[in-house]
Symmetry: C2
């Protein structure tokens, strides 16, 4: 080893030891006769000390050192004159007796400090330098710890980690697949898995009983800040279970992670139906760190000659506690905020519940104080609160109000990153109508689409609706939501061939298509498939939640940008004609696409 200790290890108890350290030059401090170097590695920073007694060749070497040079220093541990209480090694320093440059460094393009001067693009290009920063490295250390603790918890419960294949079959009924041309089977392609769904179900058919895998999944979709073409799931499946068993088991996993990684006791997780989530929060992943529930106002506000409300399909309010002090300017700004294209409300009505108990609204012309008292009652407002009202087409208005609610929550400081409010959302609809989702192949538009996936069991209570009113059928599906972020989701699966065939039929598959793409699974159901279900957690997102960040990229060692590019290695890139030929494919990109 090119060291006897790490740079985070030495203490006063090591005084007078002969040691060797290796690491990076964080800083050279030349104080005239004295020179100090902060030597950094993953484990900490230790100070190296040089004075006029140091050998001349050492002092000459010191003069050549710059930031991020890699050096090896040997010497004696001595007590510091001026101690640094903020550094665990701050009581000691090394009187250096031998010094070797292991590798030089150009001046890095940005500073390797907790707060850096490098912009996003530069830091992505030199990701290996960005990863040297404490903050970024700590994110990945957190990720490592969470993976270890996930495995510990599941292993104790008899879950087996089984690796499922990465080169599988394209079944483009969901998002787009990434595909891989096969050289040995010309004209044929593998696909990368969007999830190991069918394989984990086959493992249940195989009697594996409890399966998990921390596994890379792939989705060729247009990217957003919190999406990556490759992402990691904690993927799980259990046999002989009902929905509540799965919720209990994985609530336990999240509790274990909070306890072991963040030393937080997570309370038991409430359940909310999808219908209630939409009704009270306009959102299937409500942030329940704060209340501010939707109040439907149609019955109260209509028929008072205010055309906007009279013509609206839905009038809905929230009560922002303690926000009555909002100035006119703030309210105007908020009105502009809801009118932005991303929110797309046509306007904002407000009513102040003043500290003196009086009520004052932006639509006083139509609503007397007596009327406003009904608003206040419906909204449960108290003196000091602010009622905010949106109106319009139902779906759009709920969506806009959900955004406004989150915004008000943020403005009022109700979305503390150190508070965690988990929630099970249950009873999702089985299907949704696809009227042209850009993340699906165009040929799938104008059909029912599985909200979760085609293997999700309908709620048996709604079986009778499958043929007559498929959109009304609830699924045995559930999501775990924490702080408004969907952390995981799953379902009880279909384990009956007939029901699975019926499901594919509903989704517009011909019998032949269904058999060709999923025959292996339907056949498996004929050889003793047990009742089973499971779920998958978005591991990148879970880590970012634990780390207090909104961006999953901060928790991925080498993420891709919004165009799916790795700018560090410059990928994707062209491949040689020789490769294309061997794979029996031609690129048509040159043809002016």
């Amino acid at each position: 080893m090119l060291r006897t200790h790490t740079c985070g290890e030495l203490r006063l108890s090591d005084l007078n030891k002969e040691v060797s350290l290796s690491g990076w030059v964080q800083k050279v401090k030349d104080l005239g006769g004295l020179t100090f170097i902060d030597l950094r590695d993953r484990y900490g920073i230790t100070q190296l000390a040089f004075d006029s007694d140091s050998a001349e060749d050492i002092l000459n070497t010191v003069k050549t050192l710059g930031r991020e040079f890699v050096i090896q220093a040997s010497g004696i541990v001595i007590e510091r004159e001026s101690k640094n209480k903020n550094n665990p090694t701050g009581d000691i320093e090394i009187r250096v007796k031998a010094l070797k440059v292991l590798n030089a460094s150009q001046t890095p393009p940005f500073t390797i400090e907790d707060t850096t001067d490098g912009g996003d693009e530069l830091r992505m290009k030199y990701r290996y330098l960005d990863l040297r920063r404490n903050e970024v490295r700590k994110n990945l250390e957190l990720r490592h710890r969470m993976a270890i603790e996930t495995r510990n918890y599941l292993d104790k419960l008899n879950f087996l980690e089984v690796e499922t294949p990465v080169l599988i079959k394209s079944t483009p009924e969901g998002a787009r697949d990434f595909v891989v041309p096969s050289r040995m089977n010309k004209g044929q392609f593998y696909a990368l898995p969007q999830s190991p769904q069918t394989f984990k179900q086959l493992l249940m058919v195989a009697g594996f009983d409890r399966y998990y895998q921390i596994v890379k999944c792939f989705r060729d979709e247009d990217l957003r800040a919190d999406r990556q073409p490759e992402f990691t799931q904690i993927d799980c499946e259990m046999s002989f279970v009902e929905q509540q068993d799965i919720l209990d088991t994985f609530e336990g996993l999240v509790r274990h992670l909070f306890k072991t990684v963040k030393h937080i006791d997570m309370p038991s997780v409430p359940h909310m139906t999808y219908a209630d989530a939409m009704k009270f929060y306009g959102n299937d992943k409500p942030d329940t760190r704060f209340e501010m529930k939707f109040v439907e106002m149609n019955g109260i506000v209509k028929g008072k000659n205010f055309k906007v409300f009279d013509e609206a399909e839905l009038v809905v309010a929230i009560c922002a506690k303690g926000a009555a002090e909002y100035t006119r300017k703030q309210l105007d700004e908020l009105t502009e905020w809801v009118k932005r294209p991303q929110i797309a409300a046509t306007g904002l009505v407000y009513a102040r519940h003043n500290a003196d108990g009086t009520l004052k609204s932006s639509v006083d012309k139509f609503y007397s104080e007596e009327e406003l008292k009904k608003w206040a009652e419906a909204c449960g407002s108290a003196p000091g609160d602010l009622i905010l009202v949106l109106a319009g087409a139902e779906e759009k208005t709920r969506k806009a109000m959900s955004e406004l609610r989150l915004e008000m929550g943020a403005r009022l400081g109700l979305r503390d990153k150190n508070v965690f409010s988990p929630l099970w959302v249950i009873d999702f609809p089985l299907l949704e109508w696809n009227d042209g989702d850009p993340n699906l192949l165009a040929s799938l538009a104008g059909r029912w689409h599985a909200k979760h996936h085609p293997f999700t069991s309908p709620n048996p209570a709604d079986f009778h609706l499958l043929a007559s009113d498929p959109g009304a059928v609830r699924a045995n599906a559930y999501d775990l939501v924490i702080n408004g972020v969907e952390i995981g989701g799953g379902s009880i699966r279909i384990h009956d061939r007939e029901l699975q065939a019926q499901m594919f039929d509903l989704l517009g598959f011909s019998k032949e298509e269904a058999q060709k793409q999923f025959g292996f699974l339907m056949n498996a159901f004929e050889f003793g498939a047990p009742p089973h279900g499971g779920l998958a957690f978005g591991f990148d997102r879970l880590c970012s939640l634990f780390g207090g960040s909104d961006s999953i990229r901060d928790f991925i060692a080498f993420p891709k940008n919004n165009s799916g590019r790795d700018v560090m290695i410059d990928s994707p890139s062209e491949i040689s004609d020789e490769q294309l030929k061997e794979l029996s494919i031609l690129s048509t990109a040159g043809a002016g696409s």
Copy 2:
């Protein structure tokens, strides 16, 4: 839960408990008035009992049950009349009071027993049924346990598991890449990693100090029984280390695995140079469970008018202890064996060292007993031993003798699967000449090829040979070999830009090609790259070694066949024109390839 206990759990101490079990019908035993069912799950088998007191509807249900039906049975734990000492639950049975069929089963195409009647192909097609067999499931349980213990060991040593990307860049200097067309970057392709090599080196540049990952890797090569297009590595890297540090650390890992998984104390691992391995075993992964070293006979056998030996570049012998009793028939058969095309020796010469001390050879015409005594002396043979001799061109003869040695080891019972003989092979050559390796692109033929990979550091002692005699340069590279199987390998890496550039030059890269493909790594070396090195274990192979099998397929849940096909899901397969069009590629396979 559809059960209160598993089928492996109940004991006499549970007598009189009301329990529910769920599982598969292994066997229905109808003894007239009494019927027993062996109910199986992953955890064991429990006997269900029915008699004439059982309710009629239950007895009627029992009559409908066949092999592999999934049922739920509730009842009382009672003591068995005739106990089964071979089954941990064999003291009890369940008197069934309620019985429910959870799913029926067709008769499976082969028996779900430890010894099955299903052929390979059938079992692969119905892999989910094959996985129900104890033997196959135990292999995957072993794999799970080995992964957990690997992580435990490395986590304790401060290794961080970091996930590296799967969608990377094609750099076809090694085996062929699998590639993935990018929809968003038309005409461009990702590649799947043959290993995370460059990323783990960048993590060292990033100061991560100790990295590991249990990770899928991909190689598009023509398959053999022990190769899969996707395979799993335990991939590791360390900074500030020298070769011996890496050998010590990972010898420790293997020792930990032997101890925790197989309860075997592994002795310290001897080192052997590549040169010695080739000289004494004709093989860079010698099986050292037995000696039977090569003895070079040129100096002893030449000049006695035996043309075969006189004209041979190499005459080499092994001494098979205790095999002097081999009959003429056996020796003829062995001669035929070495003449098979796979071995391709031209013939086999033998000399018996008889029990009475006399010596008798198949070439007595040319060699007197006096001469044969010299053979015996050189080979260290004793009465009762058999000396086997091959002759011919050096490389080919060493290879043939290596095969013969392994064959004799097997025939003499010296290759016990429960004995483990680990070995570090060190000092590999840096380069080998590629005169048309079918696993490389044709355009790479007629060049030097990196024996390990282009990032391996030459041995500093041989730097002076890099320009003048590249084939003689040794690498700082090492393999861990156990029982003749290469379990892992690695090297000290280049961390200097200039040396790396020189290496690419040696491998026939132009400066531009090197910069385009590996510029990111060479640039990284300019910003303070620490000395580093690492290794990777073939996890599939390590598991199969621990499990006592020669085939890695037995340790992969869903393996592919020799054509790279998954016959269960029927993949690879054709994709739709809509998909091809979106990806801007055309398949040329129809064009009569």
